[in-house]
């Protein structure tokens, strides 16, 4: 049982965690904190949080777990404000999509890596954002990756793991850099490609005619381009190294396919498409 949980940044991710823990009775009180008072009021009205604070000290005071749910570019500022308020019995975790950058931000802000800070990342979300989009079932059956470092206390890891499990998630542990590599491949690069394609078409399409002929496949393919630009801007810069590695690999493969199409190399095209279909059918189902 968590007596008091503090959510810093009550949007889709933080709001859904709060809803899940309240729904299952895993948490007595949820305190919200953020820069946007209107959004916090909304969260209170929706019953997502029990109260909110607009100053950090009363928000985190007496909290068992503080979950930081802000875009990764804002993590360092939050850590800096949190540093003088951190106590030994307060566990801190985050939900950032890039973990090397968050660990480095914590190191800089605290001057060391606190034993009760557990870097984490729930692999869940929708293209929506804001507390209105939050729902208690978001984490059901979804993976949460924790990336503890050498300094991290294993009891803190267990507490954060238990919290996510009570929200319905399956928790895995991973090395920080491996996390960033895997997420660059399955999440950050796809977002980059979707944003680029839609922007590219929007710019060439003065009469907005092209999109009228977009079918279901295009809608699905570009759904992630409706994601929050600030959040994804931050992720691209925070995980630039792994993202650029993946992008270079992808661009080289795309160039090979471009050449094959230009030269009418049926065999190469078929082999790429067949491998892709087999892999996706096998791992993703529908």
């Amino acid at each position: 049982m968590i007596d008091r949980l503090c959510i810093i940044g009550v949007g889709l991710i933080g709001g859904s965690l709060a809803r899940a823990l309240k729904t299952t009775g895993a948490c007595k009180e949820v305190v919200g904190y953020g820069r946007n008072a209107a959004s916090l009021k909304k969260a209170l009205q929706l019953g997502v949080i029990d109260r909110f604070e607009t100053k950090l000290y009363p928000a985190v005071k007496g909290s068992d777990i503080v979950v930081i749910c802000v875009p990764v570019g804002a993590m360092k500022d939050v850590f800096c404000q949190l540093a003088p308020l951190l106590t030994q019995d307060m566990i801190v975790t985050d939900v950032g999509s890039s973990k090397r950058s968050v660990v480095e931000a914590a190191q800089t802000a605290f001057g060391y890596l606190p034993a009760n800070f557990v870097p984490g990342h729930p692999i869940a979300g929708t293209e929506q954002s804001g507390v209105e989009a939050s729902f208690a079932e978001l984490y059901h059956g979804r993976r949460v990756i924790l990336t503890p470092v050498a300094e991290t206390d294993h009891k803190a890891v267990e507490a954060v793991q238990s919290m996510w499990q009570k929200a319905g998630a399956v928790v895995t542990k991973m090395q920080v850099d491996h996390h960033d590599e895997v997420l660059a491949a399955t999440s950050h690069l796809p977002h980059l490609l979707a944003f680029t394609l839609v922007e590219s078409l929007a710019r060439m399409d003065e009469k907005a005619e092209i999109f009228e002929y977009a079918a279901g496949g295009f809608r699905d393919f570009t759904r992630i381009a409706s994601s929050d630009p600030v959040m994804w801007h931050d992720i691209c810069l925070a995980n630039a190294k792994e993202l650029l590695n993946m992008l270079n690999r992808f661009s080289a493969d795309l160039e090979k396919l471009r050449k094959a199409i230009k030269e009418g190399d049926s065999q190469y095209i078929m082999s790429v498409f067949q491998t892709a279909k087999q892999a996706r059918d096998r791992f993703c189902g529908n």
Copy 2:
């Protein structure tokens, strides 16, 4: 009312058209033709067609409309077989995703462009294929593009338009080359990118671990990579010119974004992501 409709290639697209026209009573008899007898038997069992033929002549004989639903790479062969059987009161249309290649195939096979041949393309489908995946509602509210040429008889165009409208579709007319440009942008390039990304990851991921951490966004983004490889191989080669034009434009934009991420150009990244989100929210909704 269509007395007799012949579907050449009874899969997702042809099967769904047959189901739609039978459901609404817009067609008395549907005759199926194809190379795969097992699939035709299945179509008969499912009630998608009323009978099937394994020779082309009895299949098309007496048909008001013949709809060719084979991969675009197989169109020329079908036209060649159809050429000696074509009568003046038989309307022929197709469903190919690239129209210049189909028009050229017809020109080569017939030696001229028959007045009662209406090139067409329903902008509908799923990543599934085969007659088992067909359903009567596939075309409800979806667009069908017809690309008549100078030789095409307007009465034939009207008949094909009426057929698609009875299946629930919204019919638009477009120039052949403009169709190919629009579809390269909204369909062919996205498929190419999805196939390339999934193949790229499958190849680097010996332990199949990466896909385990793929969330809903990745599933949506790569859904079209589960599409039929033969169909998409054919489309890429058939519409190579427009597809390569779009790919070059996309690659140039991707390179600009790569540079911006490398150089930490926040402003550029934000502007691309914001434009993309606005365009997608505006034109695609969810």
